[in-house]
């Protein structure tokens, strides 16, 4: 397959420039407002942090323009605004964490640029299916290894190497998606064939079901060995969704749901901490339990968001410090307190845009691998946003995952920028002209 080089029309580039500038303005603006709201003056670190956003976003934009000229113009700026908003909120909560987060943003942008430059065509990745899959699996299960694995907040997700601790599963999940996209693209014809079955349920041959079983077992391993509910749910969702998208067979969704229900029940019965999560979810506002560990933090998140109301207390003027883990798991609640419903709706809409653009990228991709890759990456963003926002707002039991681009955390932020680079890469390789149907 050869790509026909069609020069992109000017308006598209102009849109990308305008959106990137807007992202810089929103990011730096939110951060300056935090300084004004908190201390009544422009923060002293403006030059430093302001230039990270201005220079970083601009370089990223230029690299996209040079190396992925036909990429969707909204992808990067949308993620950029989420990053900026998250940074402002982290800066509001703690100057120290903000300094670290700024470093991670810089590193993340660097890896975004490197990924775009190195991976000139996403199909390059299709050649290393099993290598990537193996590395992904290793990263996923690395924290289990005695000696380097570390348990933080009850979950064994961390790996310590010298002075650094990181969450290898954050990058692992991106690699797993690449692997699955590649694997399923190659096998989807086979997996789509149902041979035996009862009634309308056509079950594919056992050897093709094996990957599903392996994925399920891996998820359970993550749940049992790393005690990480959120990641476990995320992997399984990615796998089932990709399998279904690849084959178009609803049978996989049904089997997936059954397996999920079985896994969830097993987890609930086997683990006190899973039962506790469910109990916290149901009784977070019970005055008798609110001072118990876990209940209080979820209750404080509700109280914080309620205090924010429609327009919020204003950046730097609320008390999000009362919410435990406000910079990581609960950053959505902190945003709700200081920016109100307007802020939380804005964040959700940004995710809707990101997910929408991701699925559009998948639809416009011309190869099966590209489609599945974009789908998988988008599913990561969508499920993760839903799981954490739903957990914080008590739609579902809370499981600790980060809010992509927004939460504090180096591993998460860097992996998300790599994810974004791959999405931008796939979107740049789309069928020419299709994006301009309306013009």
């Amino acid at each position: 397959m050869s790509q026909i080089a069609v020069p992109e029309p000017r308006p598209r580039q102009a849109t990308a420039v305008a959106l990137t500038i807007l992202a810089v303005i929103l990011s730096v603006g939110a951060y300056v407002l935090v300084g004004l709201g908190k201390r009544g003056k422009v923060p002293l670190t403006l030059a430093l942090y302001g230039s990270i956003f201005a220079v970083g976003f601009l370089i990223a934009h230029l690299v996209i323009r040079r190396f992925a000229p036909r990429a969707d113009p909204a992808l990067f700026p949308t993620a950029g605004v989420l990053t900026g908003l998250g940074f402002a909120m982290i800066f509001r909560l703690s100057g120290g964490l903000a300094a670290e987060q700024a470093t991670w943003i810089a590193v993340g942008l660097l890896l975004f640029v490197i990924t775009l430059i190195v991976v000139r065509d996403h199909r390059q990745l299709d050649a290393y299916t099993y290598t990537i899959g193996l590395v992904g699996l290793v990263l996923l299960l690395l924290p289990i290894v005695p000696g380097i694995g570390q348990t933080i907040n009850g979950a064994r997700l961390w790996v310590a190497l010298g002075p650094f601790t990181f969450q290898p599963s954050e990058l692992g999940k991106v690699l797993i998606v690449v692997f699955l996209a590649s694997y399923l693209n190659a096998k989807r014809e086979l997996l789509a064939i149902g041979t035996s079955g009862v009634g309308p349920l056509r079950i594919p041959p056992l050897k093709h079901l094996a990957p599903l079983i392996v994925a399920w077992a891996t998820s359970l391993a993550v749940l049992f060995l790393e005690k990480d509910l959120g990641a476990s749910l995320l992997y399984f969702a990615i796998f089932v969704v990709l399998l279904w998208v690849a084959t178009g067979r609803a049978t996989y969704l049904v089997i997936g749901l059954v397996l999920f229900a079985a896994g969830a029940t097993m987890g609930y019965l086997a683990f006190g901490h899973v039962q506790l999560r469910v109990d916290i979810w149901l009784h977070a506002l019970d005055p008798n339990r609110v001072n118990a560990f876990g209940y209080g933090q979820l209750a404080q998140a509700q109280f914080g968001m309620a205090t924010g109301g429609l327009v919020g207390a204003g950046l730097g003027r609320g008390s999000p410090g009362l919410i435990p883990y406000a910079s990581t798991d609960f950053i959505f609640a902190a945003i709700g307190e200081e920016l109100g419903l307007l802020g939380t709706v804005a964040v959700l809409l940004l995710f809707v845009v990101l997910v929408g653009k991701g699925l559009k990228t998948a639809m416009e991709a011309r190869d099966g691998f590209g489609k599945l890759l974009a789908t998988g990456l988008t599913v990561i963003l969508a499920i993760q946003a839903f799981v954490i926002v739903g957990g914080v707002t008590r739609v579902i039991p809370l499981t600790g995952v980060t809010l992509p681009f927004v939460s504090y955390g180096g591993s998460s932020l860097i992996s998300n920028f790599v994810l974004l680079a791959l999405l931008v890469r796939v979107s740049s390789g789309r069928a020419p002209g299709r994006g301009r149907r309306l013009t």
Binding site: A246, G248, N291, Q302, F303, A306, L310, S319, G336
Partner: protein, 494 residues
């Protein structure tokens, strides 16, 4: 070929996000109030409460600040300050994030926070302009010079002082010693506040108990103002003549009643009511009580605001207070001797400076007892008066004739009776002393003085329990009268 699934996936994601939208609308808007009021949300409720620039409490000069708010660097945005320290603690009460609020801080909370309807326009304007919410200013009736004078004259002695403007009921002095510094409880350091609270509540001095309005003491001879009111109303004039023995046998018992120090009252075998009042003759007033009878005595006391028990409310007041106690007439049915003893302010009788100042005020105000007031007006955040608490009549315990006769009797006390220590050159002072025996703890009597100066439109009542500095030698004239005098002098200077 995968596009069909992708469209469905998009729809599924949309459904998930719609669920989130619905939920955040519930949490942040529709269910927000319920969450805000959740009892577990105490910390944020506290923060919201302390985000208000709580209004000032000022003296009647509008300048002397009894309580104000200061910006605080901590999580609680404002901190309460009491610039005068303990001097006005019995009036303002305290505003503590650990122990709640008392006194005017509690009673006028809605005005101080700006929640009151009268302050709503300003409060809303502040909200729209994004300014911190400010409360209204509570202007008290307290006169700082007189309050200072009362505190200075009482010195280190335990005691309570209340001064009221008889024509309006405006309270000019409300002072009690020992007292406490409300700043200790308004601090924003939980450990410090808790420690201060423990110290204050476990102190044997009981510094948070107001001797002016809360604690009750036998009123002793100051109660003769009430007995005289009943007698004068019953038709016994100031010149009515009464037998004058030095010991009175009480009915139904072998007990007797004696004069202070066991002396004869002057005047031979008979004595006029005014003379008996002037020298505070117990034997004669016991006779008066028996003659007037329990019925009229109880009715008179209750008309002034005394009640058979401490429960319930008689005379309304801005902050909680304990009215005086005098039993119902029925109580005396089989206790006739107690009528005699009650008539001289002992037995079951109880009062505090507030109750006795109300009695004196009614006498000074032609028999009209005004409702006591501690707050004259409330001003909004820009200084406009939004609420005025005008004078209000509580009742008419005595006629103006009786008030005039009683005034003459009280003037006589200060001119040549037991209350000469309250004399002020050039100023007519009407007063009554009290030296009350009591069975509690100390043998030393409570020293009382109740008075008013018609020209100053001011009534003062003072109690110094257990004799103050003079101990067992104390009398109301020696210990309490000079304190009342100091307050009157301060009023004279002002």
């Amino acid at each position: 070929m995968m596009d069909r699934q992708l469209r469905r996936l998009g729809a599924a994601f949309l459904v998930l996000f719609v669920v989130l939208f619905a939920q955040i609308n519930y949490v942040q808007v529709f269910g927000a109030e319920r969450l805000a009021d959740n009892p577990a949300n105490a910390k944020r409720q506290l923060i919201a409460e302390y985000a208000v620039d709580r209004g000032e409490i000022v003296a009647n000069d509008g300048r002397t600040v009894l309580a104000r708010s200061r910006k605080s660097p901590g999580e609680l945005r404002y901190q309460r300050l009491y610039p005068q320290g303990p001097l006005y603690s019995g009036i303002t009460g305290f505003y503590s994030f650990v122990y709640g609020k008392t006194g005017l801080e509690n009673a006028y909370n809605d005005y101080l926070t700006g929640d009151a309807a009268e302050l709503l326009p300003q409060t809303l304007a502040d909200q729209v302009l994004g300014r911190p919410r400010r409360g209204g200013t509570v202007v008290t009736t307290i006169d700082p010079a007189m309050q200072q004078a009362a505190a200075g004259a009482l010195g280190a002695q335990e005691g309570g002082v209340v001064a009221i403007q008889p024509s309006t009921g405006y309270v000019r002095v409300l002072y009690s010693n020992p007292n406490y510094d409300p700043n200790l409880l308004a601090a924003q350091d939980t450990a410090k506040v808790t420690a201060a609270w423990k110290r204050l509540t476990s102190s044997p001095d009981n510094p948070m108990l107001s001797r002016a309005i809360s604690e009750l003491y036998p009123p002793g001879s100051t109660f003769k103002t009430v007995t005289s009111s009943a007698a004068l109303s019953a038709g016994y004039g100031p010149e009515s003549r009464w037998p004058n023995p030095h010991v009175l046998d009480l009915p139904q018992t072998t007990a007797t009643i004696q004069n202070f120090g066991g002396e004869y009252c002057p005047g031979g075998s008979q004595i006029t009511l005014i003379e008996a009042f002037t020298v505070s003759c117990n034997v004669v007033y016991a006779e008066v009580g028996l003659k007037v009878g329990a019925e009229k005595l109880a009715a008179q006391a209750h008309a002034f605001g005394f009640a058979p028990t401490t429960s319930g409310e008689t005379v309304p007041f801005d902050i909680g207070w304990s009215h005086g106690v005098f039993p119902d007439a029925s109580y005396f049915a089989d206790r006739l001797p107690e009528v005699a003893i009650s008539a001289i302010g002992q037995a079951q009788d109880l009062a505090n400076p507030m109750q006795m100042a109300l009695v004196a005020s009614a006498i000074a105000n032609q028999g009209v007892e005004m409702r006591p007031r501690l707050v004259e007006q409330v001003r909004d955040q820009d200084g406009r008066v939004v609420k005025t608490f005008g004078p209000e009549v509580y009742g008419r315990p005595i006629s103006s004739r009786v008030a005039a006769e009683l005034t003459q009797m009280m003037i006589s006390v200060v001119e040549h009776g037991t209350g000469t220590a309250a004399q002020i050159p050039g100023l007519t002072v009407a007063g009554k002393t009290g030296t009350a025996q009591h069975g509690t703890g100390s043998e030393n009597p409570h020293a009382w003085f109740v008075c008013f100066a018609p020209r100053l439109d001011l009534a003062v009542a003072v109690v110094v329990p257990d004799g103050g500095n003079l101990g067992s030698e104390a009398t109301g004239g020696q210990v309490a009268a000079p304190i009342a005098k100091a307050v009157l002098e301060a009023a004279l200077r002002g």
